[in-house]
C-alpha cells in the first residue's frame, strides 16, 4: 500500500497533528473559565512570586554572545581551507592571510572600543 517509506512519516505527522489539536481544543469545550487573582499568578513552586517578569538583565550578555557568534562563524571558513591547504598553494595561503588581517582589524576594533570588557 505505501509507495514510499516517507508516507509513514506523513501518517505519523497527520496523527500527531490530530492528537495535539484534540488536546488543545477539546478541554476548551467542556470547561468553564473562572479566573481569580491567585489562579492567574505565575507558578513559582507554591511560593508567592516576589517580582514581575519584566526585569531587565544586562546587555553585556548579548554583546558577548553576538560577538562570539560572528567570530565563531567566520573561523568556520578556515576548515575547508585547511583541508585543501596543499592544493591551494601559496595563493590560497596569502588569500587566507588577507582574510585573517581583515578579521583581525575588526577584532582589534571591537577590543579597543570596549566590546569585550566585562563591565
Amino acid at each position: 500500500m505505501p509507495t514510499s517509506p516517507w508516507s509513514i512519516i506523513a501518517v505519523y505527522f497527520v496523527v500527531a497533528l490530530a492528537v495535539a489539536g484534540a488536546i488543545a481544543v477539546v478541554p476548551g469545550i467542556f470547561t468553564r473559565k473562572r479566573p481569580t487573582k491567585q489562579k492567574l499568578e505565575p507558578y513559582e513552586c507554591g511560593v508567592p512570586p516576589t517580582s514581575g517578569l519584566e526585569g531587565r538583565f544586562p546587555v553585556r550578555f548579548y554583546l558577548v554572545a553576538m560577538l562570539f557568534v560572528i567570530f565563531d562563524v567566520e573561523t568556520a571558513a578556515f576548515y575547508p581551507w585547511a583541508v585543501q591547504l596543499k592544493a591551494l598553494g601559496m595563493f590560497g595561503f596569502l588569500e587566507m592571510v588577507t582574510f585573517i588581517v581583515v578579521l583581525g582589524v575588526g577584532y582589534a576594533y571591537v577590543w579597543k572600543k570596549g566590546g569585550l570588557s566585562w563591565r
Binding site: A87, F91, V102, V105, Y109
Partner: protein, 482 residues
Amino acid sequence: MTAFAGVTISWPALAPILVLTGAGLLIMLVDLVSRATLRGLLYGIGILGAVGAGLTMLPLYGHSVTTLAGAFASDRFSWLFDLVLLGSLAVTLLLSSLRRAEDGGSPGAYAALLVFAAIGGMVMAGAANLMIIFLGLEQLSLALYVLAGMGYPRAASQEAALKYVLLGSLASAFLIFGSALLYGSSGGLSLDAVHAAASVPSGLFVTGLALFVVGIGFKLALAPFHSWVPDVYEGSPLAVTAFMAVAVKAASLAVLARVTYVVFGHDTSALAPLWLLAIISMLVGNVGAIRQRNLKRLLGYSSIAQVGYMVVGLAGVGPQGLSALAFYLVAYALTTLGAFAVMALLADGGEEYADLGAYPGLAARRPWPAAAMALFFFSLAGIPATAGFYGKLLLLAEGLAAGPWGLALDVTLVVGTVVSLYVYGKIVWDMYSFTEPEAVVPTGNALPSWVAVAAGALGTLVLGLAPQLFAMSQPFLSVGPR
C-alpha cells in the same frame, strides 16, 4: 593577470574595490590609534579612498573583463554604476562631516560602514553570479542597517533601523530562496547558466525568478514592496538617507538590469510582472508624495516613482535601453544628492531641515539654496533644460519601441510626471511666492555642503543642456562578454 587553479584574476578589474577596502580598513585603524576624535581626518580618508578608487577606474573605461571564474564582470555597465556609487559615497561623506548628530559620536564606525556599503554596491554592480549578487547585497544592506540607526539619540532613527533590518532580511530571504530555485533549475550559479535554463522555462525556474525579483523589488522599493521606505527615509540620519536613495537603488538596479539582460537577452515577454510592478510604483510613488509634509518622506516616495521610471529602460532590453536607464540614473543621482545636500546645507549640523512647513518664503532669505532646490525639483519632475527631462525622453523612446507593455509604461510615466509636477511645483511655488518666511531663517553655510550642492546643480544643468556629452550616439553601455 594571475592564474590560480584554472581561475584567472584580473587585478585591474578588482582594483577599485581593493582600494576602497584599504581605505575602509585604514579608517578603522586610524580611529583605533587616535586618542582624539579626528572627524575630519576619518571622513577625509573615506573621500580620498573614493577618489583613489575612481582613479583606478579610469583605465578600465571601455574594457570588458570577466574575472574570478566568470563571477565578476568589469564592463562599461558596471563602470558607470561604480562611478555613481563612488560619487554618492563622496557626497555622503561630505554631508556627514559637519553633522555630529549623524554618526552617534563614533565617526570612525560611521565612515567605515559607509565605505564598506559602497563596496557592497560595487560588488553588486559587477556581479555575474547569484552568489556574488547575494554577497554584495548583504554587505551593502548590513552596513546600512547599522547606519540607519546611528542617529541613535533620536527614537525615529532606532525605529528606522528596526524596520529596515526586519524588512531587509525578509527581502534577502526571498532572494536566497529564489536563488536556490534558479540554481536548481539551471544547475549552476552563474547568470549564464541561468540564461541556459531560461530557454525552456520550468516551473522551478519561473518560481525562482519570481522570488528573486520580489527580493530585489524589496531592496529597490518597487511598489507594492515599498512600505518601509517612508519611515526608514524619515528616521535615518540625513546623509545616510541620501546614500540609501542613490546607492542602494543604483546597485539593485544594476543587478536587476544585468539579470534581465543576461538571462533573457532581447526577449522580455516573460517579464510582464516586472512591468506591472513598475507601473504600480510610478503611480504609488507620485500619488503618495502629494500628502507628505516631510521632505525626506517626500523624496522617499519620489524615489519609488523614479525607480519605476528607470525600469522602463529595461522594457526594450538592449544597449539602448540600458543606456537610457544609465542616463536617467545619473540624472537621478545628481538631483537627489543635490536635494539632500541643500537640506544639509540649510540644517548645518543642527536640526534636520526636513519639515516642508519651513520652506515657504525660503527664496527671499536664502536665494541660492532655494534656487538650487528648485532646480533639483524641476529635474526630478522632468522640466526641459534639466537632466531629468532628457532622461525621461530617452526612457519614453525605449517604451515606445517595446510593444504594448512599453506603451502602458509610457502612459503611466507621463501620468506620473504630471502628478509629480504638482508635487514639486507646489513646493517651489511656496518657496518663491511667500515673501516672509514662516519659520526661523536657516543660517547654515558650510563649505562641504556648498561643494555638494554646486556639483549636483552643475551636473544637472550640464546633462540637461548638453546631453550629447553623455555619448548617446552609440550604444553607451555593454554588458560584458557573454
